[in-house]
Symmetry: C2
Subunit: 355 residues, 2 copies
């Protein structure tokens, strides 16, 4: 979806590497994160300051191969090593479908997936993911367990102005962001964490060291360039503001989707609040990267039902929810999204009057 | 060390990325490894064919964030999931110091470090690392356990003509390589595995998916460019052959190091065979990326002793060996290597006659 913006701005984002550059494992920075390019750290801090979505002063920046690796690293860093049992990991359903897999796929004795945070009632240490806006349903989230032994990971991949109003700068202990959701450059595999506690940051860096000895310098330097251009676009009125451009794209897609869905009672979309955005100084309704569609009144598996009409979605069960829900991507290419809408419209028009 | 080559060839390796390129998680290739850029796969296969150090036909190529991630992925893929106990992981000492840490740092129930392969006598499944030429001591290795329940990972990071004669194309079940040791571009974090069995390859790819959702496209495309230039340099007589150039650098460094060390009996270097290299069609002595120095007759900790003279080395104990051994990097910058040699010479000249 973001490709049109990047084509529009032409060669402002071009970056060239010579054969003799970026040979070393090490970066030049004096950062705690020894493999983090100082230019990237600078642009990450600048962008958060420009957008106002997170506090960066007194935070350590840890870079990762996408936010996936940072999720793994945060689990590693927050898991106690002196306990007889693995720590419980929870997230309120519906949750990002990869959390359970990430928690358990290495069969680590450090941590284990413990399901829906709303059902967690053990008097034991736990780690809770708070994904806000949430993947898959776009809802703004707060912690739900609120136990005294909890450690929190705030996954803020979608806390950018194109998706939702920036209502305050986030200042949690561990906050995760990723270039892929912010700018669309998923292929670069660059994520970052803002970490308050030095020891937690150090352990996350250790995780990166052992698992991948850091992060590609090319990807880091290109990400620095891209984030820099985005910040420039926000402060320089002669440039096309990236977030305003993306807001208008998402607003248009959401309007068209709601238009198609509104004419019936069987298929219902999640509703979102209208909030004042400190970044744009305007009221903005949340327009998530995914739509969360509920197939009301149907006992059927909604993913299967839609697949029968050539509509690609992800079923709610994958997110710890019900099969009557599906997640629809709102970030695909224009042509794919248009075809999706046409097919969905055809299904809804075939419904009997009043459904 | 390789920087001089890359400066010499000028802009042949330049690569430019536009803002709208490489946005997707996916690569274009029809490879089993869905995030592998087809251009990189092509250049990897071409380079092995040009150098003759590994068979690529009927092998799957799996790309990773450095060979570190591929080591973790291979352990994951080769560990049985239906066993009550974690599988034992061994390597003959002295071994790469990261293997024990990689095996155990996540406290996985799938696998555990079991030490020196030469002491392994259990009648149980095991995984053996065969690092050849070996890190830290440069020796050409074969499996040592040779049990019927063994699964082998051949870490061939240093099986390139600048380090050792290419005596035959390797054709093991799982073979690991990395750009950093081949070309010097450690900052790119690009490694690859050649995998014979489809199911093992698939599991390794699954590991990459869950842990990092693939590998940076920028790093992959730049690596493709660099490997391509190296292959070109081998087949085009008007270009400076990369491996011959690197051989002459390493040969020179090793000669100077041996010259400094030969005048005494206390400090002794590992000896290597002279073998016929199928790539250069000449006899070549192994010139490893590391020197393995033994401080004979001394009960003292050799790393500590040398550190007292401002010589940075890594003590043998870190490699499952003795503290009388140290590993010396032979790939540092020219100036660092020269200072190292001067200081080592000063120590040796201070020794009493006949030691």
């Amino acid at each position: 979806m973001y490709e049109s913006y990047w084509r529009k701005i032409g060669n402002m984002c071009d970056i060239t590497f010579n054969g003799y550059e970026s040979l070393s494992y090490f970066a030049n920075g004096k950062s705690l994160c020894w493999f983090l390019e100082s230019k990237l750290e600078e642009e990450i801090r600048r962008l958060h300051n420009v957008v106002g979505n997170a506090i960066v002063d007194d935070y350590y920046v840890v870079i990762g191969n996408g936010s996936s690796q940072l999720i793994m690293a945060a689990l590693y860093a927050l898991s106690p090593t002196n306990q007889p049992h693995p720590i419980n990991i929870v997230a309120a359903a519906p949750f990002y479908s990869s959390y359970p897999e990430m928690a358990d796929f290495e069969r680590s004795e450090l941590h284990k997936w413990a399901g829906d945070a709303r059902n967690y009632d053990k008097d034991e240490p736990y780690i809770e993911f708070i994904t806000s806006p949430n993947n898959p349903d776009g809802v703004i989230r707060e912690p739900v367990v609120n136990g005294i032994q909890g450690k929190l990971i705030h996954d803020l991949a979608y806390y950018w102005p194109q998706y939702t109003a920036i209502t305050s700068p986030a200042n949690h202990d561990v906050m995760l962001f990723t270039v892929s959701k912010c700018t669309g450059h998923a292929g670069s595999r660059i994520g970052w964490a803002l970490v308050k506690d030095k020891e937690v940051g150090r352990k996350m860096i250790k995780f990166m060291e052992v698992s991948t000895i850091g992060v590609s310098k090319e990807a880091q330097l290109r990400a620095a360039k891209i984030l820099g251009v985005i910040s420039d676009s926000c402060v320089n009125p002669t440039l096309d503001n990236f977030f305003e451009y993306s807001q208008s794209l998402l607003t248009d897609r959401w309007q068209r989707l709601r238009q198609v869905v509104k004419a019936n009672d069987l298929y219902v979309l999640q509703k979102y609040p209208l909030q004042y955005c400190l970044f744009t100084k305007k009221f903005y309704e949340t327009h998530p990267a995914f739509a969360w569609l509920m197939c009301k009144g149907s006992e059927e598996d909604c993913e299967k039902l839609l697949k029968g009409h050539k509509l690609q979605t992800r079923g709610g069960e994958k997110f710890g929810s019900y099969s009557r829900n599906v997640r629809i991507s709102m970030l695909g290419k224009d042509e794919d999204f248009n075809i999706f809408l046409q097919r969905l419209e055809a299904i809804i028009q075939e419904l009997p009057d009043g459904n």
